[in-house]
């Protein structure tokens, strides 16, 4: 174990904590931007530090392809390669393979696929995934899991869940740097509470430094989504970090935090920036729209980021989709927004005003009171009274 997790404040299931990793002292809940290939689209390390990024995610699949994990290792690890002084997390490479590669196939041995470089048949085993991640050197590494989309039904889900448990043992055995890198297990089991429960118990038995809730954020309906998160957070140990992979939208992060999750990652903020969309408290702002051409307000008048303090919607409008600078500025703002959300979640829990924060968040996003039902149901389970924001409850 190479981390410390100390809860500093709670509200029912929600918790704010200090997560001490080899390279950085983090505060949860936190969002991790995705720096796929060892960089976050166009932003320098100084800008990322300014924005408040604590942990950045690197994709093992991409990095193993270019520049290769051996090269990264030879040059002293990914931190040194990127010159990133804070924390890093790498995924197992499995998800990308399955989603990006045409002919990927999963067997007991591992993930077989065609090399995108030369078409040769290749195999990513749990052992190989951990070895690659050991070479890359991130603070947190992920076990290779057998991930299936939640939209699939049938025996495949059960097969995947049991295989994930068998593979975790292989990952643990292959892990050569447990004192410097934290291996997180990933809970699978689709939308089936029985399978999820078996998986949680199996992973918890292995006494890992942290746990992720996987297999979500893939198109399942929101009602199923929150229930799986709720079930898993209830069953996972209190004193270890819980990471919901692939989440996501600010609303989802607030709900999951209310239910007791601590860490999140998603390409959404940076990806949507490249399409000209900014994240704002009310939801999103589409800078491409003609209405923005004459709007001389900042993207978000309450936002303190460099972009909002200096630029108008009209100017960003004339940049987006035409000049790289447009995506750079929007990525900066969107990440700032996500990190501010993380800081607000942490501080509101620590300072004992989490329910007020949640209500204000929902009121701003749903001024007409039309908070989605799934959010209302989730908040009820989380024990947070949001009746002041919900139209149906206001009688």
């Amino acid at each position: 174990m190479a981390l410390k997790f100390e809860v500093l404040g709670r509200f029912n299931r929600a918790r704010a904590a200090q997560l001490t990793l080899p390279h950085y002292l983090c505060q949860t809940p936190l969002f991790m931007p995705v720096g796929t290939q060892g960089t976050i689209k166009g932003l320098t390390k100084n800008q990322l530090e300014e924005i408040g990024c604590q942990i950045i995610l690197g994709n093992t699949y991409h990095l193993a392809l270019r520049p290769t994990s051996e090269l990264i290792d030879e040059l002293g690890g990914l931190h040194k390669f990127m010159n990133w002084p804070r924390a890093l997390l790498t995924d197992s490479g499995g998800f990308q393979m399955v989603s990006l590669l045409h002919l990927a196939d999963i067997t007991e041995k591992g993930v077989t696929f065609q090399s995108p470089v030369d078409g040769k048949p290749m195999l990513l085993t749990p052992e190989e995934s951990i070895q690659i991640q050991n070479r890359i050197g991130a603070d947190i590494i992920m076990a290779l899991d057998d991930v299936v989309r939640t939209t699939i039904t049938g025996p495949r889900i059960e097969e995947a869940m049991y295989r994930t448990l068998r593979w975790i043992d292989r990952c643990i055995a292959a892990h050569k740097r447990p004192n410097e890198q934290n291996l997180f297990g990933i809970v699978q089991g689709g939308l089936d509470p029985v399978l999820r429960d078996i998986c949680v118990r199996g992973l918890v038995e292995r006494n890992l430094p942290g746990y992720a809730i996987g297999g979500l954020a893939g198109g399942e309906d929101k009602d199923s989504f929150w229930r799986v998160v709720a079930q898993c957070t209830a069953a996972l140990p209190e004193d270890k970090p819980r990471y919901v992979m692939g989440v996501g939208y600010p609303l989802d992060i607030v709900v999951c935090s209310a239910l007791g999750a601590d860490m999140y990652d998603c390409v959404y903020p940076t990806r949507t920036a490249r399409f000209g969309t900014a994240l704002v408290p009310e939801g999103v702002l589409k800078l491409k729209h003609q209405a923005m051409a004459n709007d001389i307000r900042p993207i978000d008048p309450m936002c303190e980021c460099m972009v909002c303090k200096n630029y108008t919607r009209a100017y960003i409008h004339c940049l987006v989709t035409k000049d790289a600078m447009g995506s750079q500025l929007l990525s900066y703002h969107n990440l700032y927004y996500m990190m501010k959300l993380s800081r607000d979640l942490h501080s509101s829990i620590v300072e004992g005003r989490f329910p007020e924060f949640v209500c204000k968040f929902l009121q701003t996003m749903f001024p007409k009171g039309d908070v989605p039902e799934w959010v209302c149901n989730a908040m009820e389970v989380a024990g947070i009274d949001i009746s002041s924001c919900c139209h149906e409850m206001k009688v």
Partner: protein
Amino acid sequence: MKFAVKKGWSNGRARSGVLQLGSCPFPIQTPALLLTTRKGLPPFTSPDLLTSSLPSPDSHLLQFSPLHFLEGISPKTISNIGGLHQMLSLHQHIFAAVPRDSIIALPEHDSTNKYGASFQTPGGRLLIKPAEYVELVSSMKPDFWVTLADEVPAWVSNKRNRTSVDRTLRWLDDCLSLNKESTTIFGSIVGGSSIEERHRCAQEVAQRNVSGYWIGGFGLGESMDERAALLTAVTDNLPEDMPRHVSGLGLPEEVLQGVAAGIDLFDSTYVYHLTLGGFALTFPLERNKGENADYQLSDSGGDGMKINLKATVYRKDTSPIVESCICFTCQNHTKAYLNHLFNVHEMLAQTLLEIHNTHHYLGFFCSIRKAIEEGKFEQFRRNFVESRRDRLFAAASSA
């Protein structure tokens, strides 16, 4: 605007000077480089990095084309925001408006007519008339702007060339009379490859009430050899104590040629093109450096002036682009990381490289100024050109 040639520092026609313009609290030393921008901001360097990672005040001179703004944002909105400095939040920077930017606003002499100048842009062909141009410029409130010109390439007929001078002079007068506010205007001088026309245009413009001169029509097909005489044909007819700005002279040797002819301000697309191609400037900035044996000439795709960061020889190179460089990129990142970023087509590659290349090229201009002040400009220029030739020769023979 205030401009003064430093007395006693001139070497032939080359001169060093000091420029003071409204927005920038620091005086700018000339000869100076204007940075290329896209809609007012550098192509890859975001504004916070522009102010934090590039030398001040050298990096405060920015050139932009008003034509960039024609689609996407209206002059009225720019006015409402308060002008360019407010819109870009670069209050201490100097913005020079020049219609032509050699990348996305290229003069189309075939379509230019008596009504206006035509430009080829990513949005198609644009015809801009003096009145529209003045309206655009007045909504933006740049620190100085150049009058609309009819630039023609070197190979046009004498008749077409003469017409371009006549038109440019007429548009100059139009711009001056349409200009309601007291703004700083540079009169445009063209004349193509004809010494007589260059004389004529320069003499005419020198009689107008302008604050400086913009010399256009270069970088459009003339050879470097014929250019020297054309440049002096212009500068010899201009008053000593007014600034001269030229576009289209981008490469270091071309800049040196311009300095030798008495030019003070240069806008150049050299840094932009290098950055796009993955090339990093490495030539020594200090004069009288001997041959450097560590230029890897044949396998790096470099030539002693610059290196190609995409070359596989840099895959594991943990040194910065230039060991002694104090730019953000060299202080924080390695050639190996940049090589990787270029190979995976990440935007950060261009951001980091533009910072280094801009820093380096500004350093080159600093060396030029130093050489002029020490009375050694001609020697500096000779050394530079000769050592470049030697390295190219060595690279060619070892290939």
